[in-house]
């Protein structure tokens, strides 16, 4: 095996060295010639030593080059060792990987003035690319319809990540804030999640959501050496949400309305002894400066307990949003929780979710979701093919939010 790995030059030198060694030995065996000259033998031995040194140097050079090529192959997503290909890289694509997610829905409404309708979901193009050993980038570009049936394009996520080890990973750009569990576990691809949509506490800002689910800034996360506890941390600093006018774009992509930055910290535990279990808390702080009104201190506390394995999931989250005006200090606390359970049976996965949201009348920031809404959602997801899911869901909510979702939804969600 070693000879096979030698470069051609090394093989040639090796042959020469062997010949030179064997010749004097053959001469020695011919005992009839006792006329050896020690000086000549010494010269030959010296020459053999030199050739051996050259062989070793060439072999080391060949080994070094082989290792370098192997490391490069391991890093590459296109080329590598014989017969090797990347598991998630479609053949023919370059280092930039593109995945698409979409869904097509049909909704019926139980009440209100809305009519049954077909609906296009979000066409989500997910981009990712390795930028060397420690850097990577990812992005989500979403095409979706607005309230006027026109299509618009949003860059929902775009991050440059630096991950030198498992203890720290730094990313800058636009991200999903690590408030609770669902917001970072599920993004814009409906195919991943069991239900047809997100819990209403985690709705996106442009869909009436009341949480700052997107942030523009820097996020740091990593593992904490903690043995079986499996602790992890997340720290984020971002522009926070815009609050001057309800008509403004809620995510401050290029300009912060004030000098105060939003800060979010989260602590998670994934015990190694119970794969699939995760518990965590997060605290988000920001200061909202509304036009010609007192500033409001915003604190969002979230806690979750999740057990999620391929056959079964149970998600439980509670979120509390506290808004405290600087002048009156009269705090308004919005409470919300949801619990979701699902179980895989063959290709089918029935699921059940119960949601609760209570926004007090004294709330000053949310203009549209005042009041209490609650109720169940029950549905069945069928994986017709690995990339295609068909979901039939019934939602029955009580409260001011009910007309936005109540009724049946049939969804075809897929990845491509």
């Amino acid at each position: 095996m070693i000879v096979d790995r030698l470069a051609p030059q090394a093989r040639f030198l090796c042959s020469c060295a062997c010949s030179i060694v064997l010749l004097p030995l053959a001469a020695q065996s011919a005992a009839a010639q006792p006329t050896e000259e020690p000086q000549q033998i010494e010269q030959l031995q010296k020459r053999v030593d030199e050739l051996e040194a050259q062989v070793k140097a060439l072999q080391a050079q060949a080994d070094s080059e082989e290792k370098r090529q192997a490391d490069a192959a391991a890093e590459s997503t296109r080329e590598g060792a014989e017969g090797m290909r990347d598991m998630l890289t479609p053949l023919g694509l370059g280092a930039l990987q593109i995945r698409g997610f979409n869904d097509i829905d049909f909704r019926t409404f139980r009440a209100g003035g809305q009519v049954n309708t077909f609906s296009l979901g979000q066409l989500d193009l997910f981009l990712s690319s390795r930028l060397g050993s420690d850097f990577s980038t990812l992005g989500e570009i979403v095409f979706e319809a607005d309230d006027t049936n026109g299509l618009e394009v949003d860059v929902e996520r775009f991050l440059l990540q630096y991950s030198p080890n498992d203890r720290i990973s730094v990313a800058g750009g636009r991200f999903h804030t690590a408030i609770g569990y669902y917001n970072t576990a599920y993004h814009h691809g409906n195919w991943f999640q069991a239900a047809t949509g997100r819990p209403f506490i985690f709705r996106f800002e442009d869909d009436g959501g009341i949480l700052p689910v997107h942030g523009v800034g820097v996020t740091v996360q990593g593992q904490i050496p903690s043995g079986a506890a499996g602790l992890r941390y997340v720290g984020e600093i971002s522009n926070g949400r815009r609050s001057r006018s309800p008509d403004d774009e809620p995510v401050q992509n290029v300009e912060d309305e004030n000098a105060h930055k939003a800060v979010n910290v989260a602590l998670l535990s994934r015990p190694t002894g119970i794969p699939g279990l995760q518990a965590g808390v997060s605290v988000y702080r920001d200061r909202l400066e509304r036009a010609a009104q007192p500033t409001i201190d915003e604190t969002i506390v979230a806690a979750h307990l999740v057990y999620q394995v391929p056959l079964f999931e149970q998600l439980n989250e509670a979120i509390f949003i506290r808004h405290t005006p600087a002048d009156t200090r009269a705090t308004a606390t919005t409470s919300s929780f949801y619990s979701q359970i699902s179980r895989q049976f063959g290709r089918g996965r029935p699921y059940f979710r119960y949601e609760f949201l209570d926004v007090p009348n004294s709330e000053l920031v949310f203009a549209n979701q005042i009041g209490r809404s609650y109720g169940p959602t029950v549905g069945l997801r069928i994986d017709a093919a690995p990339p295609v899911a068909i979901k039939l869901e019934y939602t029955r909510l009580t409260g001011s939010i009910e007309t936005q979702t109540n009724g049946f939804t049939l969804q075809f969600a897929f990845v491509f």
Binding site: D86, T89, R99, S128, R130, Q161, A185
Partner: protein, 158 residues
């Protein structure tokens, strides 16, 4: 990442699941890798891409056999309690979440896996016991909860 030798070492052809019955899988790493032992929990985190570095800082590269190989199915079942489809979906989801930096490399034959692990210092894979030779290092796996076979294969603990 794991090389499951579904293939005959002599021919390099995939072996049937029946032929692989009662064989054991051996986790292998590069001979330069100082690691000699992994718990099932550590192995699971490596396969799932949550642990991406060896203790010496070298990046971990996971080598896996093609799908529909008994060795791959068994490794995923025994270590991750996942089917191959579950695992693929998990990888896609982890990539989507931004937590998976590098997906496993797929090799067609046991020989390919062995050569890959031999050539890549940070590689880890799996083979049937009779396919392991001196070019790679077998790692002892501890804490195996279910010593029973999956797809006719057990997880070697040597």
């Amino acid at each position: 990442m794991f090389v499951f030798a579904a293939a005959s070492a002599a021919t390099g052809q995939p072996a049937s699941r029946e032929a692989a019955a009662h064989a054991s899988l051996v986790v292998i790493v590069n001979t330069q890798n100082p690691v000699t032992e992994l718990s099932v929990g550590e192995l699971r985190l490596i396969l799932l891409g949550e642990t991406t570095r060896w203790p010496d800082g070298r990046r971990i590269t996971v080598a896996m056999r093609e799908s529909d190989q008994a060795e791959r199915d068994a490794m995923l079942r025994l270590v991750c309690n996942m089917s191959d489809q579950d695992f693929t979906r998990y990888l896609l989801h982890a990539t989507f979440r931004g937590t998976l930096k590098s997906s496993p490399k797929v090799l067609e034959t046991a020989t390919g896996v062995r050569r890959f692990v031999f050539n890549v210092p940070g590689a880890i894979g799996y083979l049937r016991g009779d396919e392991v030779d001196g070019s790679v290092k077998a790692v002892r796996v501890t804490g195996v909860i279910s010593p029973g076979p999956a797809f006719g294969l057990t997880l070697g603990t040597r």
